[in-house]
Symmetry: C2
Subunit: 144 residues, 2 copies
Amino acid sequence: MRISTKGRYALRLMLDLAVHASGDPIRLKDVARRQNISEKYLEQIISVLNKAGYVRSIRGPQGGYVLQKAPEEYTVGMILRLTEGSLCPVECVDDAGTPCASEKECTTRLLWKKLNDAINGVVDTVTLGDLVDWRAQQADHYVI
Amino acid sequence: MRISTKGRYALRLMLDLAVHASGDPIRLKDVARRQNISEKYLEQIISVLNKAGYVRSIRGPQGGYVLQKAPEEYTVGMILRLTEGSLCPVECVDDAGTPCASEKECTTRLLWKKLNDAINGVVDTVTLGDLVDWRAQQADHYVI
DNA sequence: TTAAATCATATTGTAATTATAGGAATTGTG
DNA sequence: CACAATTCCTATAATTACAATATGATTTAA
């Protein structure tokens, strides 16, 4: 039950855009270098984020990407669900999925609901802004 | 980020053994019928549970399987981790996994730790005994 | 005009998932 | 003892997902 690289890279990509925001567009090449991720793979990932309106793209030289909204406006869950697909541990507790064929209310389903709630409790409360803050605190340590 | 059928089937298998426990061994064929799962697939799954000592097998006619311990002694996490592998959402927060190569303490890692704790908070507290109880309560509804 | 960037789509290699299949070994019962 | 019911073991296969890589088209600032 792993988060795939796609979701993790998307998160690091968005965090990179948030941290290095200066008004000017940020080139994917620079993100790829800083995050040590294949630029071509990042292109596919940011394409999804772009189509969803999470980032804005500027084409041509001096082009790049900028966050469409403030970092606090993006929850981790929004980013992961977009790139990763559903985060539900099993299909039957997924609102978008097809419900359990067999049982009206199978016993293990209660467990999956609890697990789903626990997962959502984290990813839907932590925002990109929080990640930026955490990173700033870590940076403080290195200053000394 | 889904729990695979292997882990889900293992849980239903263990629950079935717990619910139908009578002292006599329970045939896999009956579990397969009740749970509507391929018997051959269940064989592979229970083989893992058997080698781990979670169930005891009795061979030959009138053979089958019984739980080795009381249902309360098995957490959901024990069963899922055994059949499913690690439940960590990313490798770098997995005690058994290789730690992050790049960063000493990368920012997103804090998030993954929170997520990991949330998941463990559910699977390590709910036991097979709880599932049995839940099932009994559901059964009460149908009695009326 | 050129070069730097995004955009779009196809392809590939690997591994995991989800089983199915065939038969060997064990053992209670008639 | 023979038989049949069961567990046990291993191989194989079909499908899908994952994680990229590759190629080239399009846009646009300088």
